[in-house]
């Protein structure tokens, strides 16, 4: 192997953002044809490293890069990565939501080639053919904003794969590098498997892959070697096959991770929050009862409607019919709006945190204190000082790093953004907390923290609904899991049935036979 130069060799790579040292003296080598995993906690510097390769960030002086054995000097000018044979799926996908699918697909081409006669009908036809060759049915004319998160992720993946293929097809002996920064967080299990097949196929065609994920199962399944970052420093590079799960975890967090036993009340006793007769474009007569103090999971296969339920209840999506009974009051879901929902004591943590959850350019402190603004009203405007100190405490409590209320939300790493949002909603002590994929993109330790915080919220007399396709997570935090099929409640799992395997099995079962049973999920099935 070593007779060939590595595809990418980074040496002494450092990057600071003001006082924050995101990367320090990092060495990383990606060999020919390998799938190389990049691991590390939230904020450990993975995305920063990737953005340096893409020319977005300029590293500190002294950093070195060689591609296919040839030294390349920093700063990389925009688009340089393309001529070096790299293509990227960035953590936030790098799509422009207000433009069409075909425009987003073509941006690399538009950036790298001077074209004076674009024919949009032809480009749309080609795009449709491309999608078809990947088994996708994306409409090239659609706005990216209208796509489901999973389709957006697939679009970004297809775009990067196309680019790497174009590179490996027309070049002599140079290898390309496909970089995937947490590509799987938005993907349902089936697409994930497909992606892995695709990755393997690409790795067999004069290309290497740099793959970021917090999911150790994925990492073990797909990578040949992994490099672990902690606080911006490389803690080691190992062959995946030789490293056990515990070893990896220890490298990532710097100590052993004790599995936290999660105590749960299997029998719910608190007052009930109930949703009755919910009908909408993606829901057919859904009724659900959630007791305060319990965590109920909603799941199913993609498109079965479960993931829309929180948005109906929160008033973010229009329901055709349905009522919400909460704290002795009843609301008509047809007339629900986010502000009314908040008043009613409902909080929602949306999955699409880039678009729905926050204001990227505002400070972190402002973002987390928004729902509680009323608290800080004094006779003369807002009590900023108290707001700031509260925010600081809150951020520390939720282990958001760095816990500085003045930094902008945008500058946080992906996982820390998620933790900040959770902090934002939990502080309001809602009666009903709706979580949609709450651990999307967070690292293993934070995942456990979020589990614990979720249970704690329930113990603090909140009714929690956790909407997710992560069966592991559902099994870990939920008292009950409701499985959806074709917009209906299909099956409810309770007690000892709440296991990863049972949930997965039921998802497929219910999808095949959704009308089998039609029960009030609130009752003891």
């Amino acid at each position: 192997m070593p007779e060939h130069p590595p595809v990418v060799a980074l040496t002494h790579l450092s990057k600071s953002f003001g006082a924050v040292r995101a990367l320090h003296d990092v060495d990383l080598t990606v060999r020919r044809g390998e799938v190389h995993g990049l691991l590390g906690e939230n904020g450990s510097g993975k995305s920063t490293l990737i953005k340096i390769l893409s020319g977005f960030h300029t590293p500190d002086t002294g950093s070195g890069l060689a591609v296919n054995g040839r030294p390349v000097s920093f700063p990389l000018h925009p688009g340089k990565f393309r001529s070096l044979g790299m293509s990227f799926v960035h953590q936030d996908l790098g799509l422009v939501p207000s433009l069409s699918v075909v425009e987003n697909l073509l941006v690399g081409d538009l950036a790298s080639r001077r074209r004076w006669r674009l024919s949009w009908p032809r480009e749309r036809r080609r795009a449709a053919e491309t999608f078809a060759s990947f088994g996708l049915g994306l409409d090239p004319r659609a706005q990216v904003a209208d796509l489901r998160p999973s389709d957006r992720a697939l679009l970004a993946i297809v775009r990067a794969v196309q680019e790497i293929r174009a590179h490996t097809a027309d070049d002599g002996s140079d290898y390309g590098l496909l970089v995937l920064d947490e590509p799987t967080v938005f993907l349902p299990a089936r697409d994930r498997d497909q992606l892995f097949v695709l990755i393997r196929r690409i790795a067999a065609t004069r290309a290497s892959i740099l793959f970021v994920s917090h999911d150790l199962d994925e990492i073990r399944g797909i990578t040949d070697r992994v490099t672990v970052l902690r606080d911006g420093v490389v803690r080691g590079t190992v062959e995946t096959a030789r490293a056990s799960g515990e070893v990896l975890v220890e490298m990532i967090i710097g100590r052993r991770l004790q599995a936290l036993p999660i105590e749960r009340k299997r029998t719910a006793t608190g007052a009930a929050v109930s949703i009755t007769g919910l009908n909408g474009r993606y829901a057919r007569g859904v009724s659900l009862t959630v007791h305060r103090g319990e965590v109920v999971g909603l799941t199913g296969l993609l498109g079965s409607g479960f993931e829309e339920i929180p948005y109906y209840v929160f008033g973010a999506r229009r329901a055709f019919a349905g009522r919400l009974a909460i704290d002795g009051r009843t609301y008509d879901l047809r007339a629900m709006s986010p502000s009314r929902a908040l008043e009613a004591g409902v909080a929602l943590l949306p999955a699409d945190r880039h678009h729905d959850g926050s204001v990227g350019s505002l400070s972190l402190g402002d973002n987390v204190t928004v729902p509680a603004l009323r608290k800080y009203r004094s006779r003369i405007g807002l009590n900023r000082r108290r707001m700031r100190s509260d925010a600081r405490r809150l951020l520390a409590q939720f282990d958001v790093r760095p816990p500085d209320p003045r930094s902008t939300y945008q500058s946080l790493s992906g996982g820390n953004q998620q933790k900040a949002l959770l902090a934002k909603w939990l502080q309001t002590k809602p009666s009903l907390l709706l979580l949609h994929e709450p651990t999307q993109g967070v690292d293993i330790r934070a995942r456990q923290q979020i589990f614990r915080l979720t249970r704690k919220a329930a113990a603090g007399d909140t009714a929690v609904v956790c909407v997710s396709t992560d069966y592991d997570q559902l099994a870990a935090v939920c008292d009950r899991v409701v499985v959806f099929g074709r917009g209906r409640v299909g099956r409810e799992l309770t007690g000892a049935e709440v296991t990863k395997e049972r949930i997965a099995e039921q998802c497929y079962r219910v999808a095949e036979n959704p009308s089998g049973r039609h029960l009030d999920a609130g009752g003891d099935a």
Binding site: K51, S54, G55, F56, H77, P78, G79, K80, F81, R82, F88, H90, G94, L95, V96, P97, S98, L99, E103, L106, V107, G108, D109, L110, A111, S112, R113, R114, R115, W116, R117, L118, S119, W120, Q143, A145, D146, H355, D356, V359, G360, S361, Q410
Partner: protein
Amino acid sequence: MSVGEFVERFALVGAWIAVIAVFSVLKPDTFATSSNFAAILGSQAVLVVLTCALLIPLTAGDYDLSITGVLTLSQMMIGILNTRNGISVYVCIVAALLTGALVGLINGAFVVIFGIDSFIVTLGTGTFLGGVVLWISNSETFAGISSQLTGPVVVERFLGVPLAFYYGLALVIVLWYFLEYTSLGRQLLFVGRSRRVARLSGLRVGRLRWGALVASGVIAAAAGVLYAGITGAADPVSGAGFLLPAFAAAFLGATSIVPGRFNPWGSFIAVYFLVTGITGLALFGIQSWLQDMFYGGALVLAVTFSQIARRREEHVSGVREN
């Protein structure tokens, strides 16, 4: 294309036709005359060209408030150099266009190198240029610009309409082609929608924004040349009045033809829709202050409509990031 989409795209065209029809019925012998139409079409060429100038930086996500400063300076350069110094009109035109490019370069330098908001920078340079014009002209009007310029601009006609109109039309076509069918045009759009994504995609964001500002400088200077040709004179103040109409046309245009995007055809129609309305009302003896009210009102309404269309495009606010 759905019915709703069709209505949205061509509503402005329909409104324009309706305005023409109403005034033609009410004032058949003053409004519905070929000379009146020719006057309407010819008189607005300056605004069409100036709006085209504005569209380029707007597409790239930047404002250019210095366009009328450039227009006035360009017009005044021609006025002074041609009528007072007797320099050939062609040399004057070249000098004016180069000056426009220079202003664009300076705007771009502040915006790209120093990272200052384009709104502030161009507000400053535009005001600065206004001062320069008053200074070099001594607040005087220079009349009697050579027929070498006025001839091919207003005197000569094609199908009864002054050639100025066709220059504006040609620019609209060229700009539309550029924005719609070239990679460079689409690059500008990406930059305007998300600088971050544009950079991650390997676009040269700084250069593109800079180039857009230079282009708007040159085209605004061309609008000044046209203005000098149409009026046959150069005055130091009237050019400033074009700023609001240009913005109104740009934003109103963005509600039409390609809703949610700044586009030359939409702006072209917007310009003529607005002026047709004003001309028609003027025939009823309504005062000139009406013009200001019309443009001002249209600007607010246009921005409201385009915001609604845009929101449908973007779904959530705050998508345009840095």
